[in-house]
Subunit: 122 residues, 2 copies
């Protein structure tokens, strides 16, 4: 058994276009020998957001702390602790922190894209 | 985007051998059109436990609430809210609630076994 802990102080800043005040950590990914999918911890500070983008692999998301907005094909929806979200492959999406405390969520991805290439951040 | 919520009142009793006071719900699984892996919510009541077993697929676990024990190839270890665990395929394991409140965790599995058959509860 491998083990680690959720720790918002142990995430690293995500330095990508269209990303604001987001940090993340791969909790269990290909670097830990995962065979199929990867578990990542995201922290979005108030006013911050992930990129508005789409890609050829899915997300499963569980909101752990805070409040925000999910912008997806269904429009903008409020999200908060306890919400469970699924973004299908190729669906445009963005997560934004609209609150006053950190928005924290876990986000699952498969290890590989459709063409067999590695999913970034897996 | 699909969405649901973690709700310990919305889980169903798991009626299997060597399972005591456990309920679960498939939050995002093959019935929701997942392509690769499934997200399940487990609630183990005080004194309860999952089966001590092994199988040919992995688990990723995030403890959401409560305290308990994980019995694995490394022996018995205490677990609590915020712990992230990985049980590899073929590793014997059991989760037990040693506390006085519900032990809640999410548990990820791939959709398919090595031989292509469906993973139970996916």
């Amino acid at each position: 058994m491998l083990r680690t802990r959720l720790d918002p102080g142990d995430t690293k800043t995500v330095d990508l276009d269209d990303v604001q005040d987001v940090s993340m950590r791969v909790l269990l990914g290909r670097g830990h020998g995962m065979p199929n999918f990867a578990l990542r911890h995201f922290v979005v500070e108030p006013g911050g957001h992930t990129p508005h983008h789409r890609h050829d692999y899915e997300h499963q998301v569980v909101v752990l702390e805070g409040t925000g907005e999910a912008d997806s094909a269904e429009g903008v929806q409020s999200i908060s602790k306890g919400d469970v979200l699924y973004i299908a492959a190729d669906e445009p999406h963005q997560f934004r922190n609209s609150g006053t405390t950190s928005l924290q969520f876990i986000c699952l991805v498969p290890l590989n894209r459709r063409n067999g290439e590695e999913v970034p951040g897996s």
